[in-house]
Symmetry: C2
Subunit: 382 residues, 2 copies
C-alpha cells in the first residue's frame, strides 16, 4: 500500500537529480535540506522565518514528541505542522536513532525498543507498529520506518543481525501503516560493510516504500568511509523514488551527496553549531567567539544577504555570544539555515543547467581557500 | 547647555499628554514604553522586530556596556543604535540603579560609585563625569545623569543625604557633558518621603536638563506608595519637558502614570516575565505553564493580532515552554512587547480624542475581570 506520494525528477546532471516532492502540505523542491526541529520547533527559529528562508519541509522526532507533549495531543491540535505553526510539510524520524544515541536507557529485542522517558522516566515501548501509529497521529507527511541504527564500530556479524532485524521491522511498519496520505520511507543499514549495505538495500528496496533512506552513517566512522558508504548506498536505491541520506552533514558533504543522487538531507550541524557560536560561510566555518572579531564591522559572510548578515556585524554578534544573549543563537542559526537553504537552491539550479560539478567545486574550493586563509591568520587566543 | 532636544506636546487630556520627542535617531511618539535592552539587545528579540512592533526608542545600560564590550568599542562601531542594528533611538541608564541592585560589589562616596565588574572583577569607577563620558561614547540619544537610587526602606536622614548627593552629581553631569546632540536627563529621588521628593525636585528641576525623571520607585515599596510618590513626582516636574517614570511597571501602572502626566517608561516586566512563561493579555496575566492550557487551541490573547498570537496556540506555547525551547521566550516576549506597545499607541489616541479616562478604565476593568475569572477557575496544579 504505497501512498500516492508524488516525486518528479525534473532534471539530472550525472547522478545528481533536481525535482520536486508533492506532500499533503505542499511541494518541496529537491535536493532539499531539512532543518531539525526535534521537539516540533527548530531551535531558536520561528516557523515563519523557516518559510521565508524557503524551507518547505522540516524534520521532527517522533520519540521526543511521543514523550512530550504526546502524539494524541499533537493529533488533537491538528497535526504537527499546524501545531507548530508551519505552513509546510514535516518528516518525522522514527526513534531508531534515539535508540542508539540514548542507549543507556533502552533495550532492543525482536519486538522493538524499550526506552525510559528522558522526561519522567516512564517506560516507552517503540515497536514498528507503535512507531508508525505515533507518526500517523503526529500527522507527519513523511514517516520513517523503525530501524536499528547501528553504532560505530560494530563487528560484521552483529551488523548483519541488526540489518536483518531492521528488515523484519520494515515489513511490520508497512503492515502497520493505516494512513493513505502519509508516506512511509524504508531505511537501509549495514554499517561500513559494503556487502551488508548491498544485502540491506536488496531487502529494503524489495518492499513498497514511498522513499528510501541510507541510515547508520555519520555515527563516528571516518569521513571517507561515510562518503564511500553513502555513494554505494545511493547506487543501490531505486531511481524513481526520493533518496534520503540521514544525518549528513557539512556543506561539502551535502554537495558530495547531491552528486551521488540523494534528494533529501537532515543534520543538526547548522542549528547546533550556531548555538555554540559557529557559522557556516561561503569562506568556510568561523567561530564568532574568536577575539579577532571583537571589532570586525563586517557581516558574518560578506556574500550573504540573510537577515543576520544584513543587520549585524561580527563585532555585535561576538558581543551577543559572549554576553549569552538569546539573539546570538537566533542570528547564527538563521544565518546557517539560510546558508544551507541557499546552497540547496543553487544546487537545484546548477543541476537544471547541467553545471552541477562546476558549481559544487567552486563552492568547495571557496570554503577550503577561506579556511586556509583563516587558519593561517589565527594569531589570537580567546 | 541644554541640547536642542525637541519635545512637543500635541494634545492633553487632564494631566495626560500626547506628544513626540525628536531625537538624532528619529521621532518617538509619547507616551512611550521603552523595552529594556540592557546589553544592547532586548532579550530574545531582534531589532527589526522591535521596529515592526512600533518601537522607536529602547533602553540600554551604560554600566553593563562599559563592562562589556566597552564604550570605546561601541563608539568605534558607530554608536549603540548602529551597533545593535536598531533604526531608532536609544536611552542609556547611567548605572545608578545597578549601584543599588549590585550593591554587594560596590561602594559609594562623594566621588562616585566603585564597582567590581560582574564579568571579570575589574574595578570600575562610575563618577558623574565618567557616566556622562561613557554614555557620550555609547552614542545614546538620551542620557541619564548619575544618581544614587535609594533602596527601600531607608530612613529619612539617609534619604535626604542621598538626594543631596544626587543633586551634586547632577550638576557635575551637566558640567561634564560635551555632546551638543545627546540629551541629558536629571533624576529626582527622595524615596517615599513627600518633603524629600519636593526638595529633590526643586534641586533637579532648577538645573537645565533636557528632560526629568522620577527615580527610586518600584524598588520594594507598597504599590499605593509607589503610585502616590509617582503622582507627586509628576506634579513637581516642568510641563514643557519630557517626564520619565523609571522602572514602572505593569500595564495598569502605566495607564495610571500616563494619567499623571508621564511621557516615558521602562520596565523589565514584559521581557523578564515572558522568559518565565508569563504573558500580559487584555484579560490579565496568564502563566503558560498551567496545565489548563495543555490542550488549549486559542492564542495567548484572543484580542491580539501579534505574530505570536497569529501563529501559535496556548497548547503549543506551553509545550515550547515545558520543553525549554528558545522559541517560548521569543514568542512570549514578542507578545508582551506588542501588548505594551499597543497599549501606548491606544493611550496616545485616547488622549488625542480626550477619552483617556474612559479608555484606561476600560482596559483596567477588562484585566481585572479576566484575572478574577481566571482565578475563579484555577482548579489545576502544574
Amino acid at each position: 500500500m504505497a501512498t500516492p506520494l508524488s516525486f518528479e525528477i525534473r532534471a539530472t546532471d550525472g547522478e545528481a537529480r533536481m525535482g520536486r516532492l508533492v506532500t499533503p502540505h505542499g511541494e518541496v523542491a529537491t535536493p532539499a535540506f531539512m532543518p531539525v526541529g526535534t521537539r516540533a520547533a527548530v531551535k531558536a527559529m520561528a516557523p515563519d522565518e523557516l518559510w521565508s528562508m524557503g524551507y518547505r519541509l522540516v524534520l521532527a522526532n517522533a520519540y521526543h514528541l511521543a514523550v512530550r507533549p504526546g502524539a494524541d495531543l499533537v493529533r488533537d491540535m491538528g497535526g504537527i505542522a499546524h501545531f507548530m505553526g508551519f505552513d509546510g510539510a514535516v518528516l518525522t524520524d522514527s526513534g531508531g536513532f534515539q535508540a542508539m544515541s540514548l542507549a543507556k536507557i533502552n533495550s532492543i529485542d525482536e519486538d522493538g525498543i524499550r526506552f525510559r522517558s528522558h522526561v519522567d522516566g516512564a517506560l516507552l515501548v517503540l515497536t514498528p507498529e507503535s512507531a508508525v501509529e505515533i507518526q500517523e497521529k503526529l500527522g507527519a507527511d513523511l514517516m520513517m520506518s523503525l530501524d536499528e541504527c547501528t553504532r560505530f564500530p560494530i563487528e560484521h556479524p552483529q551488523a548483519k543481525a541488526s540489518l536483518e532485524l531492521t528488515a523484519r521491522w520494515a515489513e511490520r511498519c508497512l503492515v502497520a501503516r493505516k494512513s493513505t496520505t502519509q508516506a512511509l520511507f524504508g531505511i537501509v543499514q549495514g554499517s561500513v560493510y559494503p556487502d551488508l549495505r548491498r544485502m540491506s538495500a536488496a531487502q529494503i528496496t524489495a518492499l513498497p516504500f514511498d522513499g528510501y533512506a541510507t541510515g547508520g552513517l555519520s555515527v563516528g566512522e571516518p569521513k571517507e568511509v561515510m562518503l564511500d558508504m553513502a555513494a554505494l548506498g545511493a547506487s543501490l536505491l531505486p531511481q524513481d523514488k526520493p533518496r534520503y541520506l540521514m544525518g549528513v552533514g557539512t556543506p561539502q558533504d551535502l554537495l558530495a551527496a547531491v552528486a551521488m543522487g540523494y534528494d533529501m538531507f537532515d543534520c543538526v550541524l547548522p542549528t547546533r553549531n550556531a548555538r555554540n557560536g559557529g557559522a557556516f560561510t561561503s569562506e568556510g566555518r568561523i567561530s564568532i567567539k574568536r577575539a579577532v572579531y571583537m571589532r570586525d564591522p563586517r557581516p558574518l559572510d560578506p556574500r550573504c544577504d540573510c537577515r543576520c548578515c544584513t543587520m549585524f556585524s561580527r563585532a555585535y554578534l561576538r558581543h551577543l555570544y559572549m554576553s549569552g544573549e538569546i539573539l546570538a543563537a537566533r542570528a547564527l542559526t538563521e544565518h546557517n539555515l539560510y546558508f544551507y537553504g541557499r546552497l540547496m537552491r543553487e544546487a537545484q539550479a546548477a543541476i537544471a543547467s547541467r553545471t552541477y560539478k562546476t558549481f559544487a567545486n567552486y563552492v568547495i574550493d571557496a570554503i577550503a581557500d577561506g579556511e586556509a586563509a583563516l587558519n593561517g591568520s589565527k594569531t589570537d587566543v580567546v
